[in-house]
Amino acid sequence: MILLVVEYANGKVSKSTWEMVSAARELAHTLPGESPVTALVLGSSLASIAAEIARGVDQVLVADLPALAQYDPELWSAAVAQIATEGEARAVLIGGSRSGREYSPRVAVKLDAPLLEDVIVLKAAGESITAQRYTYLARVTETIAATGPVVVITIKPGVFTPASPGEEAAEQFDADLNLPTPRLKITGKTAERSSRVSLAEAEIVVSGGRGVGSAEGFTQTVEALADELGAAVGATRAIVDAGWRPYSEQVGQTGKTVQPRLYIAVGISGAVQHLSGMNKSKTIVAINRDAEAPIFKIADYGIVGDVSQLVPAILTELKK
């Protein structure tokens, strides 16, 4: 079987999970023999999540336990490794989220399996599973191959086309787990503002950097443009560090990776760490004062000029 671990948020299966379903189906087609796709749902109060994913896979395993109310890398890796072993999984698919990327290496070590990280293309070739992934801060595309009875794979979000739920619901089973006692104690969380569409799911992203001038400048340019376009809002590391914007909006090496249909960079010069988080966007627009800024090299369209004047003029134009 191919095991995939369901990611969900706010009572709904995440888009990243439907992308994993596609990746699992593509892999299943190229693997010899039958490879049913099994979804594993970990957490607490999961009935609606389990019912939703049941319409996308061949079988659902549910571990609905108070002990799993909060994500923990040791709990999640123990649960996934146990289910993969019992089900003799050929591949274990995990989301390329921050949590997925931190517990997946533990699963690989527990299973003595190779780990393919942040995969963008996946297929079986004879005895091995080959994958493509980005390296060198997303400037190089690398092909790697893993051989072994089981391979652990994280799927880069925003790359595979999300699968659509079908009419029929797969059967659900309860998973019986032996769980360790978590040692990492989470004592507080930052609140997340989310009135707009999330960065990971957005078709259009408007991002701002130092060139917007100030936190107020960001609101007047980037947020105004995002709201006009129904877009998500992104930010560079520099202005997150400066406290202008929350970390949840950060795009780049240490933030989120996005691949929207349209990415508008406002007042962003284009440090390589930022580019690595957005350089696969379909169409890139840059608005910046400095004609030499690296962002223009990867832009499809751009304007060299004053952001504080140009963005209001663009808004006027959009409203026409």
Binding site: R106, E142, G148, K185, K189, S248, T254, K282, Y301, I314
Partner: protein
Amino acid sequence: MRILTYLRQVLDAEESVRTTNNAVALEDSKLVMDTMDEYGVEEALRLRESGIEAEIVAVAVGAARMTDALRTALAMGVDRAIHVETDIRLDAIAVSKVIAQIATREEATLIFAGGQQADWDSHALGAATAERLHWPQVTWTSALELKGTTLTGKHDADEGSESFTLELPAVITTQQGLNEPRYPTLPNIMKSKKKELRKETLDQFNVAPKLNFVGAEIQVKNRLNKILDGKDVPAAASQLVDLLRNEARVIA
């Protein structure tokens, strides 16, 4: 206590990437200590400077160039260095086996590693090492304090950040924002030349790569590069919106 800090020497992020023979070419390019690893070196030094009695050992696994990262760490202030030298390309899961054995042998109780490698873009080493040692881990740490055997701090999670507490032993992965790494001073560079940099061979660790590297290529998406002059603000705005609506067809 003993702290291990894991290091790699990688292509400077500001350098352009080239490939030859289906692999990334590093010849004639500027190489530096991976900046993500540098935060771990700095954090270990700061823990010691805060009054904690600790020996700090820098560890690298890989090609001869890794020695340069270790020398930088010695010059920054770490006490000694171990280089397991090999030209075999080892993935993070394989390397974690080496680091775990060194940690056990050295009786280390705290390990620092960068949150993401600047060359292979891997996040796996810290967590994989923690698993082999049966230790807990915290990834993407942006603030850290050690009192007795208790670590407290902040780290980035799926959405936003979290505060945590954790008992040693532990693996911590580091990132930008944790601290400002120091530059080696000339006296420290001179002193570091007398420090131990031990070379070891890979064979004693019983490790083989878990992945085969098939090839690497640079796929550059051709961009249109239609850059307008914004001196005439209304004209440039109108032209851009027209291009996005009618040429790219990305907005309504």
